[in-house]
């Protein structure tokens, strides 16, 4: 007779000294883990709730400017440097790690309309209402730091500037889109198409010869700087304030429009938008992409900042607002994908977390594993009604809330009216237009 009775040697199961960690044995047999689905669901619910509990996105406010901040630019090589220009012509350089202003420059008399950093990071360019373009040194500790390296006095007013991502050229926009070389005092190429003024200009970080501009005649025009003629354009129903390229996808750009929406287009197919992002309740003034290319942040006239995913449904993932923050003129996403900066009308630049409940400091491996697990759980159960309800819930200022309600009502009534018209007209005479095509008036190759 052979007998074996289960007996566990306590030495194998208990720790030897107090300083050791406890021994943990696992058995993944599903029989030993009953109620997997309800438990996972509850863990997902708890994770969502904790996410909301720990969502404290506001980090700090950089104050110092004496007038509204109307433009900002990131240093293209350093993570910690930011340049901002205000409506009284002052340009400041900030160190984000200390949240201090390292340098103050009286750049222009009048608004600072555009700021951009050069490709190698040595120099930045500012453009203002006093019809000058100024080149400055980015090094805050150099000898001639308070004076521009170069000043170009021009004949017309410029409203925006952007530097090429690899070469030593930059583009300005105003009456026309001008391409400049760093050594020359005259633009090397001028693009003129109609009599309307151009709001903003941006170079493509991936396909570096492409550049996009938004024009007051409600169109968005694309240029290849190697060609003498503009490429193509798309016209929307209302004017776009800014159009920004996606840093990961070469041909995708997003335009921030006056009709409270943002439109993402693929340059190769301009007859339909890739996505229409609704959620703002007033004109969208600025957009900036995250370095991952999957999300972007937008600042609007309705005193809020929203973060949108590029490819999802078109609704915002997050909304940031403060009582003290007034009209948001400019937003930037930091290059390490963690922070968002917003410059607004009440002279403050605010620093926010890109992911509101993220822990900023040192994260131990166990914490990281727990965070990753919770994220996956939230993703898995995202469509369950209770989880969805909690994840979606955001407090929003009363004005925005009322405006959202009103917009919803308007949209619903417009839809009903269209349906009624369709019902009572000849079959096929009122065609259905997809949302993505609805806002485009024309496009031209």
């Amino acid at each position: 007779m052979k007998v074996k009775v289960l007996s566990r040697n306590p030495d194998d199961y208990l720790r030897e000294t107090k300083r050791d960690i406890h021994k943990v044995f696992r058995n993944y047999n599903p029989v030993l883990h009953p109620f997997e689905a309800p438990r996972e669901y509850l863990r997902a619910l708890n994770a969502t709730k904790l996410d909301r509990v720990f969502a404290k996105p506001f980090i700090a406010s950089l104050d110092g400017h004496r007038d509204g901040v109307c433009c900002m630019c990131r240093h293209r090589k350093k993570l910690s440097s930011i340049f901002s220009g205000s409506c009284d012509g002052e340009i400041r350089q900030w160190n984000l790690t200390n949240r201090q202003c390292i340098r103050t420059l009286q750049g222009h008399t009048g608004f600072v309309r555009g700021l951009t950093c050069s490709a190698d990071g040595n120099m930045f360019i500012s453009v203002g209402d006093d019809k000058t373009i100024k080149h400055w040194n980015t090094d805050a500790l150099s000898e001639g730091r308070d004076f521009p390296i170069n000043t170009l006095v021009t004949k017309s007013l410029y409203t925006g500037v952007d530097h090429h991502w690899t070469e030593a050229t930059y583009a300005t926009c105003g009456q026309t889109v001008d391409i400049w070389n760093l050594e020359r005092a005259e633009p090397i190429r001028v693009y003129k198409w109609g009599m309307d003024s151009v709001n903003s200009v941006r170079f493509n970080p991936v396909e570096t010869n492409l550049c996009i501009s938004t024009v007051v005649d409600r169109s968005i025009r694309l240029y290849d700087i190697r060609a003498a003629v503009p490429l193509n354009k798309v016209t929307l129903k209302l004017k776009s304030n800014v159009a920004v390229w996606n840093p990961m996808e070469a041909y995708v750009f997003t335009a921030a429009n006056e009709d409270h929406n943002l439109y993402t287009f693929d340059m190769r197919k301009l007859d339909a938008a890739v996505n229409v992002h609704t959620d703002h309740t007033d004109a969208v003034l600025d957009v900036d992409y995250s370095p991952t290319g999957r999300e972007f942040v937008s600042g609007s006239y309705d005193r809020s900042i929203r973060i949108f995913p590029v490819l999802s449904s078109g609704k915002s993932r997050e909304v940031y607002h403060t009582k003290r923050m007034q009209r948001v003129f400019t937003v930037r996403w930091s290059a390490d994908n963690r922070y968002i900066l917003s410059g607004s009308d009440e002279t403050n630049i605010r620093m926010w977390k890109a992911r509101a409940s993220e822990k900023l400091g040192m994260v131990t491996p166990r914490e990281k594993a727990a965070t990753v697990y919770n994220d996956k759980l939230k993703e898995k159960f995202a469509y369950h009604p209770q989880v969805k309800r909690i994840a979606r819930h955001r407090h929003v200022p009363k004005s925005i809330y009322q405006a959202m309600k009103e917009k919803r009502l308007i949209k619903e009534s417009q839809r009903k009216k269209e349906q009624n018209v369709r019902m009572h007209s000849k079959h096929g005479s009122v065609p259905r237009v997809v949302e993505k095509k609805k806002h485009i008036v024309t496009f031209q190759e």
């Binding site: 007998v3 074996k4 009775v5 943990v24 058995n27 109620f35 996972e40 509850l42 369950h384």
Partner: protein, 509 residues
């Protein structure tokens, strides 16, 4: 050259054991993006199943066994021989406590098999660590004790005393009675604690009421009138937490706290039911009746699998973690190894006086038997699960680990309205709601079929007085009714026309 090139093969049965649900066929998905995502998630899932199946190599312990030689039968082997043949540590697990003063004893083990609670009918209640024989607490409650049970924290226990369910918490080695529930004079017969819900279910005889209590908060979740008369046979299915009740007419009913009606009603025996037990996976149900039969059912399909005829119907039944079945007939304890296959018992043990209660210790090869004048701990090789998962229930846990486990368990506490026959319902796609939503959307987008309430527009200058609003509403209501009537008349006319045509045809012919 590597003779065993590539990965080691894994047996299909092992893979099946770790799979939850069937594979999803990604061939027919039209949307390329979705297809790519589904394919990659299926691959990830399959690799996870493979790794879990392969992890079995790393399990340290092997389950116990008893192999007999030619001519020897396992049921004739007595406990002393087994204890002599096994090692010292195991031999110490076989002991007998002579407790002849306080009546028949009911027993309960904690979920991790470390502590044991015994309660005598005459009021003696004691909890101790049965391996180290260290007494946690002992007292006499001065009332008749019907049943005892550990709650999730092993320092608190529930005792049913005559009319009431008392809950004791150990605080500095003294027992404080915290709550006495149930106001009416109902004699409660048995309680069982369901773990992930922190709920206890108690049954009473006079009116046939089944009561669910949330043990962590202390409130009564629901009281159900089962209308089944005296309820003294109760068992709970650890797989999906439904309560099974055995009735005097031979039927077994299953209850959840959400419904006032039994979820399932099965007729198991022609006579009264004496005992019920469900195995850990929720596959098998063992029932015994006054007709001296013991039957095994498949609980998921409700089909009878096997039927034994014994010399009496067993008065207690219990399944172990590895699906051994313990049945007690008067003073004999019989243990069956594969209840569906073998007719003869695996092991037997005879006590002097009739057996009151029987319970397998989780994660150990031990069966605890509460008799009329003693408590016996029997060695049953192959009863317990060899490898425990420390994150679920850890027999060797420290005080800190226990506290952490308690907090985590309370966070994951499943609400009573999630209890249903299928515990994995939450992970499945809710086809019904989806269909309904889709239909609603189609209707919305397609035609204005919304007979939603007509709300007349608010007008100024007194034109929105209540009387005027009502008039406007009536106008619209009248219009819709007229439309409906018109359509009905049209349909009727068409029907009549068709009927006329057929009669005319007949005449013509």
């Amino acid at each position: 050259q590597d003779p065993f090139h590539g990965e080691a093969p894994i047996a299909m049965e092992k893979m099946e054991a770790y799979k939850r649900g069937s594979e999803y066929d990604t061939k027919n998905i039209r949307n390329k993006n979705l297809k790519r995502r589904m394919k990659s998630s299926e691959e990830k899932y399959n690799s996870a199943v493979k790794r879990a199946a392969r992890y079995e190599l790393l399990l340290t312990e092997e389950p116990g066994f008893l192999e007999t030689e030619e001519g020897e039968e396992s049921w004739s082997i007595d406990q002393r021989t087994i204890a002599d043949a096994a090692d010292i540590a195991s031999a110490n697990k076989h002991f007998e406590l002579k407790l002849n003063q306080f009546g028949p004893y009911r027993i309960d083990y904690t979920r991790n098999g470390r502590h044991l609670l015994i309660g005598g009918r005459r009021g003696h209640v004691a909890a101790f660590d049965w391996i180290t024989k260290q007494l946690t607490c002992e007292m006499n409650v001065m009332e008749a004790v019907q049943d005892v049970n550990f709650i999730h924290i092993n320092i608190s226990l529930k005792v049913i005393i005559d009319y009431q369910v008392h809950r004791f918490i150990e605080l500095e080695l003294r027992m404080y009675c915290t709550c006495a529930s149930v106001k009416e004079k109902n004699v409660t017969f048995s309680i069982k604690i369901g773990c992930f819900f922190f709920m206890s279910f108690s049954s009473s005889n006079q009116h046939g009421f089944l009561q669910y209590t949330d043990v962590s908060i202390g409130n009564i979740v629901s009281t159900i009138n089962t209308k089944g008369g005296r309820l003294n046979i109760m068992c709970h299915n650890p797989h999906n937490a439904v309560v099974l009740l055995g009735h005097h007419n031979g039927s077994v009913t299953m209850w959840t706290p959400n419904q006032k009606e039994p979820v399932v009603k099965m007729l198991c025996h022609n006579t009264a039911i004496r005992a019920l037990a469900v195995d850990q996976c929720g596959n098998y149900l063992a029932t015994s009746g006054q007709d001296r039969k013991m039957k095994i059912y498949d609980v998921r399909m409700f089909k009878p699998l096997h039927s034994y005829q014994l010399h009496t119907g067993p008065s207690n039944l219990c399944f172990s973690q590895r699906n051994l079945l313990a049945a007690t007939c008067q003073n004999v304890v019989q243990i069956y190894k594969d209840p569906c296959v073998q007719e003869h018992p695996y092991l037997t043990h005879r006590l002097r006086l009739p057996v009151e209660d029987v319970a397998f210790c989780p994660y150990e090869d031990v069966l605890g038997v509460g008799g009329s004048d003693s408590f016996v701990s029997l060695l049953v090789p192959g009863a317990g699960e060899a490898n425990y998962d420390a994150f679920e229930s850890n027999p060797n846990r420290s005080k800190k680990q226990r506290r952490e486990w308690e907090v985590k368990a309370l966070l994951e506490k499943i609400q009573p309205d999630m209890i249903s026959l299928d515990p994995m319902v939450l992970s499945k796609v809710d086809h019904v709601s989806m269909e309904r939503l889709r239909k609603d959307k189609e209707e919305r987008m397609g035609f204005v079929e919304e007979t939603a309430k007509f709300e007349p527009k608010h007008k100024n200058k007194g034109r929105s007085k209540s009387g005027n609003v009502e008039k406007r509403k009536q106008k619209v209501h009248g219009a819709t009714i007229r439309e409906q009537i018109k359509e009905e008349m049209k349909a009727k006319r068409e029907k009549l026309l068709k009927a006329e045509e057929s009669s005319l045809d007949q005449i013509a012919v």
